[in-house]
Each structure stands twice: as C-alpha cells, then as structure tokens.
Symmetry: C2
Subunit: 237 residues, 2 copies
C-alpha cells in the first residue's frame, strides 16, 4: 500500500526503520510473547486479553511481511519468531527493564499474563550471580498465574505451572536432575516489583525462608532505570 510510505518517518535511520517495522501498537507485545516460544492465535489472544481480533490479525500479517515472524507449518494458527525476530530480544528486554521503573501500581482491570511474567523473570535474571548459588527452583504465584523458574548454574528455565500450549523443545531441566531446593512464593504484582527492584519493603512480609528469598532477590533483579554505564554514555556532547 502507498500508506506505508506515507506512514514512514522520512528518515534513513536505524531507529526510524525499526519503529516503522515493529512500532505499531501491540506489535512488540506480540513479539515479547513469541520470545517465549511458538504460540497459536488463540494463545496470543488469551495472553493479550484486550487486543481486538482484527488488530491481532493485522499485526501478525505485518510482522510476517517484515520477516519478524513466520507460521509454524505443522500447527494451524501457529506462529514463531524468525531469526530476525529473535534479534529483537535486546529491544524488548531493554523496554522491559525500563518499564519496571515506571510500573507504578496495577491499574484496575490490569492483569498479569504468564508470558509477561516469564519474560520479566528472564529479563531480570543475572547469570553471573546465579552461577555462584546452588541449584534452586522458584515457584511463583502472582495474581492468577503460576510459573516455575529453575536455576541451575548460570542457566534459567522458565515454564508455566499449568502446562505449555504448543509442543516446545522440551525444557532443559527435564533432562537433568531437578534441584531439591524449592522456594514457593505467592506475591501480589506490586510486591513482586519491589522484590525485583531490590526494595526491601516486600521482603519481611513474606512467609518463607529468608535465606531463599534473599537468594531469589540476588538471582533476579531489575535495577530501577539504571543510568546504563556503557559506550553510549561517553561523549554525549
């Protein structure tokens, strides 16, 4: 369509092109969910309860045209990321980390999805710290979703507690001895935010082994809008 050109930003720039491709409303949330593995149309619709079905349909088409996702040939209504789509992981992870700093309290009618929670854990995971700790399974219950995060060495393996939807490559932890140490936590969404940001506020109220809770907060952390030490800080002038 000619609209594409008209909707562009008129700039030959990386950011502009990226936003043209994946900046439409809902698009990056779809990508985030697909970063957890292949999903069916109905899975996405369930994970994103407020997305209108025509918009989901439009976005899936556009993301296919952009080469970000493809259909899973063997599954009706199945979609998965292409390699290019997987390249968006740093983008989505950066958004996730910044977003936690401005999360605030949950609005009424705001829900927590299994995919969003799983992605948050993966974005918060600190492999270097985890490598120094014993193997542990964390079972989280947040609002109406539950998932299990198994940490062995520097690796993290997250899966919903119910069970997965599409046949995925079997979780790695099924191939190995599962750690005996299990921390089961039931927390409100905002309390999880405090836990992950290192705020001590939520911790004392948790009815769980304090040492394991400490292990959790050291393994998973999202700094509140870190000023990002790195190449880009240099020479801003």
């Amino acid at each position: 369509m000619a609209t594409r050109a008209a909707r562009g930003f008129g700039q030959y720039s990386g950011v502009a092109r990226a936003v043209e491709r994946v900046g439409e409303r809902w698009a990056l949330l779809i990508v985030r969910d697909l970063l957890g593995g292949a999903r069916r149309y109905s899975d996405l619709k369930a994970s994103l309860p407020r997305i209108p079905t025509n918009i989901l349909s439009d976005r899936l088409k556009e993301l296919q045209e952009a080469g970000v996702i493809r259909r899973v040939p063997t599954v009706r209504g199945g979609y998965e990321l292409t390699e290019l789509g997987h390249g968006l992981e740093p983008v989505v992870a950066a958004l996730e980390r910044w977003g936690w700093a401005v999360l605030g309290e949950p609005g009424e009618a705001e829900t927590v999805s299994s995919d969003s929670l799983a992605f948050a854990l993966r974005a918060a995971f600190r492999p270097d710290v985890a490598a120094t700790l014993p193997p542990t399974e964390y079972v989280l219950h947040v609002a109406e979703v539950s998932l299990s995060a198994i940490v062995v060495g520097a690796t993290l393996d997250v899966a919903p507690v119910g069970q997965g939807a599409l046949p995925q490559p079997r979780r790695r932890s099924a191939l190995e001895p599962v750690p005996q140490t299990v921390l089961e936590l039931t927390v409100a969404p905002a309390a999880l935010r405090d836990l992950l940001s290192g705020t001590d506020a939520a911790r004392p109220r948790l009815d769980a082994d304090p040492e394991l809770v400490d292990r959790f907060t050291r393994t998973f952390r999202i700094e509140p809008a870190a000023p990002t030490p790195g190449a880009l800080e240099v020479g801003v002038a």
Copy 2:
C-alpha cells in the same frame, strides 16, 4: 484525559508500561535526538522534518508528563532529558542496532539528520576496540550532513561540523589535544550502512587511506541483527 486508561494495554507488565509511555508515534525519535543533548523546539522540528507541529507539541507535553523530558529553564523552547529519560538509552540503542539490519536502501524522500547519524555512530562505537587504537578524528560527510567523531582511547566525542545549536557542555575534546590523524570520508548513506555492518562491499571504492578506513570499521560496527548472546538466550523453552 480518560483516553489514557482506554489506550492502555490492560497488562501489568514492564514492556506494556514502557510502550504506553514512550511508544507513541515519533516519541522515541524525539528521545533519540535529545540523547544528543538539549534541543529547541525548532531544532527538533528541523531534525524530524516530517513531524507535524501539533504532534511534536503533543509528544513533548506527554513526555514531560511521563517524566522523560523537562524544559530547559534558561532557554525558550528548550527541552532536555530527565534522568529517567536518559534511562531510555539502552532501548533506543537496541532499536538502532536492530534497525540497521533492516535498513535497506534509502527510500526516495528519506533524509539523514545530523542527530540520527551521531546516534548511529555512538550506538556502533566499540570502546574496547577503540582503546587499542591511536587517537583519531573521523570527519564524515553523509548526504547533506557532516559531523566529526573524535576517538581518544575508549572515549568517543561526536559533534556536528557546522556547530551545535544549544549551549552544551563543551565537547571534551576541546579540552584536550586533538588527534592529528584525521580520516575524512564522503559516503552515500547505504555505503555507510555497509561500512558499519562490516560488509566489505563499500570499502574498495573509498578514496582514502585503507589503513584508516580499516581503523574506522573496527572502531564502529553494528552487527547485522546479532542473535545476542546473553542472559535471555538461556532457557527459552
């Protein structure tokens, strides 16, 4: 406005919240330009030639409400990032890097702005490699913009060749001896893309010292959609 709630995604999630705050059309391009330092309304309008003036005005208001930018008190029409806004740098940098992989050829009517080029260089800068090379100034002419990038050790200092608009903290290189080695390059936008992505295609046609060109391509590089080795790769299942 009550629209804000209605326009939300209904999810208590970092990505969702981030996109609600800075996902509106043009918003991240404004942030990108402000990552180069404070800018006036007219600077932004000139950097983003296709933005309607009302949209620029709306976005600036929204970004202020979101705590991402603030006005510069001493300068009429001046805006700058807050600390929270600076926290978006990893987001914009990740978009920039992914965007280069899908840049393609410049569309007709697509332009290159000084701010976008400067940001691309900063996103492509590899401080660890630069630290091993002698101090060098690179003067780039791409389409109708020109800028100077001074690399000394692991630090990069980019400035437009004309001159800056708002009084900025003086560029660091003004305080130090400027490197005598200067590489001046005049390249088409798409050729710069090839240079930065490490493709050898553009190099032989450059009329410049091959060793300095090599130094440039080692100092500045954007891998074409790297599969990002890191925490998030682990345990996708």
